[in-house]
C-alpha cells in the first residue's frame, strides 16, 4: 500500500464523516454524531499516515523532501489542517453542527487532490528554487491560516442562516450554537488565521529574498495573498465600527475566503508576460 492509496481511502473516509455530520445535524441524532467524530479521527489517522509515508517514499526515491511541494501535496495538507483545527473546535465548544459545515470542506480539498485528472500524485523532485527550508515554513503556515479561514467561512454561513430565521422557527437552525457564539467563533478563527497568514506571507517574503534577492515583487500570487490579508484586516477593524457587527462581518469572512481560494487556485488562470522566477517552474 503506498501513500496515494492510503490518501484515496482517506478521501472516502472524510466523505463519510461529512455525510454523518450532516445526518446528525438534520436528524438531531447523537449516534451518527459520535460516529461522525470517530470517522473523522480515523480519517485523520489515514491522512497523517499518508503524509508521513509519502515523505518516506520520497527518500526511497532518492529525492527526499517534505511532502509540501506541489498542488497535490498542499491540498492533502490543507484538509489535514482543516480537520485538526475543526476537531479542536468541536472539543472546545462541544457542538457538532459545525461539523456539517466544515467536514465537507476537508473532504472537497482532498477529493480534488485525489480525483482531479489534472492533479498528478507523482512524487516529483524539487526544482532548485524550491530547495529551501523557508518553503516548508511558508507552506505550513499559509495552510494553517487557510484552514482557519475555511472554518470561519463555514461558520459565517451558519451565522447568516441563523440570522435569516428571525423568529427561531426552524428546528434545523435551533441546533446551531447561538448567533453570538457563531460570531465570536468566526472572530477567533479569523484572528488565528490572520496571524498565520501574516507569518505565511512573511516566510514567503524571506524565502523570495533568499532565492531572488527581493522580498516583494508584486507578482500575482504575492499580490493576491496581500489582497486576502487586506480583506481580513478590514474585518478585524470593521468589528470596531458601529453598525458593523454580525452580518457584514460574516460577509467579509466569506469574501476573505473567496480571496484565499483565488490566491490558491485562481492565480494560475491570470495572464502574465513573464514566467515566475527566472529559472522557475
Amino acid at each position: 500500500m503506498n501513500s496515494s492509496n492510503i490518501l484515496s481511502v482517506t478521501t472516502f473516509v472524510y466523505g463519510l464523516s461529512a455525510f454523518l455530520y450532516i445526518l446528525s445535524w438534520v436528524f438531531k441524532k447523537q449516534a451518527p454524531g459520535k460516529l461522525a467524530l470517530w470517522t473523522t479521527v480515523f480519517g485523520l489517522a489515514g491522512n497523517t499516515a499518508g503524509i508521513i509515508l509519502r515523505w518516506i517514499e520520497s527518500y526511497q526515491l532518492g529525492i527526499g523532501h517534505a511532502p509540501l511541494s506541489n498542488l497535490y501535496e498542499s491540498l492533502v495538507f490543507f484538509s489535514w489542517t482543516i480537520v485538526v483545527i475543526y476537531l479542536f473546535v468541536e472539543k472546545k465548544y462541544k457542538n457538532r453542527t459545525i461539523g456539517a459545515f466544515v467536514a465537507p470542506l476537508a473532504f472537497f480539498a482532498i477529493a480534488y487532490a485525489s480525483l482531479s485528472p489534472n492533479i498528478s500524485d507523482r512524487i516529483q523532485p524539487l526544482i532548485p528554487a524550491l530547495k529551501s527550508n523557508w518553503l516548508i515554513a511558508h507552506v505550513i503556515t499559509c495552510f494553517i491560516g487557510y484552514a482557519a479561514f475555511a472554518i470561519a467561512f463555514g461558520i459565517s454561513w451558519m451565522y447568516l442562516l441563523k440570522k435569516k430565521d428571525k423568529e427561531g422557527k426552524s428546528q434545523l437552525l435551533d441546533r446551531f450554537p447561538s448567533a453570538n457564539m457563531l460570531e465570536e467563533l468566526t472572530h477567533q478563527m479569523v484572528m488565528f488565521g490572520f496571524l498565520f497568514l501574516s507569518v505565511g506571507i512573511i516566510t514567503g517574503a524571506v524565502w523570495a529574498n533568499s532565492a531572488w534577492g527581493r522580498y516583494w515583487g508584486w507578482d500575482p500570487k504575492e499580490t493576491w495573498s496581500l489582497i486576502t490579508w487586506f480583506v481580513y484586516a478590514t474585518l478585524l477593524h470593521a468589528k470596531m465600527m458601529r453598525g458593523w457587527h454580525g452580518k457584514r462581518i460574516a460577509y467579509l469572512s466569506i469574501i476573505g475566503f473567496a480571496a484565499v481560494l483565488f490566491t490558491y487556485f485562481g492565480v494560475n488562470l491570470l495572464p502574465g508576460l513573464h514566467s515566475y522566477g527566472a529559472m522557475g517552474q
Binding site: P128, F194, N209, S210, A211, W212, M279
Partner: protein, 458 residues
C-alpha cells in the same frame, strides 16, 4: 481659550483618527491591487501591443499615461493610498496611545465591585466556612494565576481583586508600529537600494551590472569573477542544481570565494549576488568530423566561426557562419546548433545545420559528405541577480514586530477577576466574576473553572 473643534488642523487630525477611514483604505487597496494582477505589469510596449492588439493597446496606454496601470504598484495614486494608510495608523495610534499608557502605568489598579456584580456571567455559591477561613485558602490559589492581587476587607466579609497582563493592551500598537517599519523599510530600499543583473561567462569577471528598471549601467566597487558554472539534472531531465563558483575581487585581490546556488546567495558589503539564470556562449573552437560517402573515411578538423575548412578528398570547403543557443527545425527546438555553408568544388552553396545534440543529423541531407560536430568546449555564462537593499533589516524588524504584536493582541488579554465573599447567616456567600479586554467567552469559561476550583477547595 482656543476653540479646539473648529481649528482646521484639528479637523484633519479627527479625520485621520477614524477607523472608518481605515476600513475604506484597506478595502480600496484590496480592490485596486486586483488591477495589477489582471494586466501584466512592467512589460514593454511591444509585449502589450502583441497581447492586446492595436485598439486595446491604445485604450490601455491612454489610461497608463494618467494612472500608470502598467506599473500600478508604483503609481502616484497607489502610493497616495499607502501614504494615507500610514498617516491613518500613525495618527490613530498617537491619538489613543496616551490614554492606553494611563491605563497601563497605574500604581493601584482601580476595581469597581458594582461592575462585577452586574455581570451576567458571574458565578455564585455558598460555603459553610467563615469569610476569614476562606480568605486564607483563596488568596494563595488566586495569586498563583494572576500577577496582581489585592484584598479589601468589608464589614461582613472581604473582596479579592486580581488581574494580569495589563500590558497586553500595548500589543495593538506593536502591530501598528510594524506596519510603519515595513513601509519605511520598503521606502529605504527603493531610495538607497538597487536591483540589477549581469551575465558573466566562465573565467571572466566584471564590475558593471545593468539595473532592472532603467536598464542603466551600474558600476560596483568590486569585481565579480565567475570561475565556473555547473548545471546538473535529475533522471527525469528536470534541473536539479545550478551552481556558480564566484570570486569577489577587490583592488585586484581576491577577497571571497563562494559557490552560490539558488537559495544560497553570496553577500558582500551589503550587496547580494543571487544565482538567477544561465546560458551558453558559442564555443570558440570546435572539432568537426567529415565523413566521405564514397570512401567511408572520417576526417577531423578544427574549425571556428568564419574560418573556412578545406575538406579532404576535394569534397569542398565548409565555413561555420553562426551559432544558435536554441535552433529551430520544422517547428521543433533542437537546442544548440551551428549553422554553416558548404561550398562544393563546382561552386554550389548548401546551408547546413549542425545540432550539437544530434550528431548524425546531417546524414538526412544525403550529401557526398556527412558533417558533424565531433567535440566542442562548452562555455557557460552565469546569470546573476545583484541587489542592494539597506531597508531589508527594517522590513524584517517589522516582520518580527507584527508576529509578536498579533500574538499578544489575539491571544492575550488584560484579565480582571473579582471574588467577593460575604457572611450570610452561618454560611458564606461567594461570588466570582471576571472581565477581559478580549475574548469574553474565554474569560467566562475561566471564571467557571475558577469558581468550581474554589468551591471544592479544602
Amino acid at each position: 481659550m482656543i476653540k479646539k473643534e473648529t481649528s482646521a488642523l484639528n479637523r484633519i487630525w479627527k479625520f485621520f483618527t477614524s477607523v472608518r477611514l481605515t476600513v475604506i483604505l484597506l478595502l480600496s487597496l484590496a480592490a485596486t491591487s486586483i488591477i495589477g494582477t489582471i494586466i501584466p505589469q512592467s512589460g514593454t510596449s511591444s509585449e502589450y501591443f502583441h497581447k492586446y492588439g492595436e485598439f486595446w493597446y491604445k485604450f490601455l496606454s491612454f489610461f497608463d499615461s494618467i494612472f500608470d496601470i502598467f506599473d500600478m504598484y508604483h503609481s502616484w495614486w497607489f502610493q497616495i493610498l499607502l501614504l494615507l494608510l500610514t498617516i491613518n495608523v500613525v495618527v490613530c495610534s498617537i491619538d489613543r496611545f496616551s490614554a492606553t499608557l494611563k491605563i497601563i502605568f497605574i500604581k493601584v489598579p482601580p476595581f469597581n465591585v458594582e461592575r462585577f456584580r452586574r455581570m451576567k456571567s458571574k458565578k455564585e455559591f455558598s460555603d459553610n466556612r467563615t469569610p476569614d477561613q476562606l480568605e486564607r485558602i483563596y488568596k494563595p490559589l488566586i495569586s498563583k494565576g494572576f500577577g496582581y492581587t489585592r484584598v479589601e476587607e468589608r464589614e461582613n466579609g472581604f473582596c479579592l481583586f486580581a488581574e494580569k497582563w495589563r500590558w497586553t493592551r500595548l500589543g495593538v500598537y506593536v502591530v501598528h508600529l510594524s506596519i510603519i517599519f515595513m513601509l519605511l523599510g520598503g521606502l529605504i530600499g527603493s531610495i538607497f537600494g538597487f536591483e540589477g543583473f549581469v551575465n558573466i561567462p566562465e573565467g571572466e569577471s566584471t564590475k558593471s551590472i545593468r539595473l532592472r528598471n532603467t536598464a542603466k549601467e551600474h558600476i560596483l566597487n568590486f569585481e565579480i569573477k565567475c570561475e565556473d558554472f555547473d548545471i546538473s539534472f535529475y533522471d527525469t531531465g528536470a534541473p536539479k542544481e545550478y551552481r556558480s563558483s564566484l570570486t569577489i575581487i577587490e583592488n585586484t585581490k581576491p577577497v571571497i570565494k563562494k559557490d552560490i546556488i539558488v537559495n544560497d546567495p553570496l553577500r558582500y558589503k551589503g550587496i547580494n549576488i543571487f544565482q538567477s539564470s544561465y546560458g551558453t556562449l558559442p564555443p570558440e573552437e570546435v572539432t568537426l568530423s567529415f565523413t566521405s560517402r564514397e570512401t567511408g573515411m572520417e576526417y577531423k578538423e578544427k574549425a571556428a566561426v568564419n574560418r573556412p575548412v578545406d575538406i579532404p578528398e576535394d569534397l569542398g570547403t565548409f565555413t561555420i557562419k553562426d551559432y544558435r543557443s536554441s535552433a529551430g527545425f520544422k517547428g521543433h527546438n533542437i537546442g544548440e546548433a551551428f549553422i554553416g555553408v558548404l561550398e562544393s568544388k563546382t561552386g554550389n552553396n548548401t546551408n547546413i545545420l549542425l545540432p550539437l545534440r544530434f550528431p548524425s543529423f546531417d546524414k538526412m541531407r544525403r550529401g557526398d559528405v556527412v558533417i558533424a560536430v565531433a567535440s566542442h568546449n562548452h562555455i557557460y555564462y552565469t546569470g546573476l541577480q545583484v541587489t542592494k537593499d539597506p531597508g531589508v533589516w527594517v522590513v524584517y524588524s517589522g516582520f518580527i514586530l507584527i508576529i509578536v504584536g498579533c500574538f499578544i493582541t489575539f491571544f492575550m488579554s488584560h484579565q480582571r477577576l473579582c471574588v467577593e465573599v460575604s457572611k450570610s447567616g452561618d454560611k458564606s456567600l461567594v461570588m466570582v466574576a471576571g472581565r477581559s479586554s478580549k475574548n469574553k467567552m474565554g474569560m467566562q469559561r475561566k471564571v467557571g473553572i475558577i469558581s468550581e476550583k474554589l468551591a471544592k477547595l479544602k
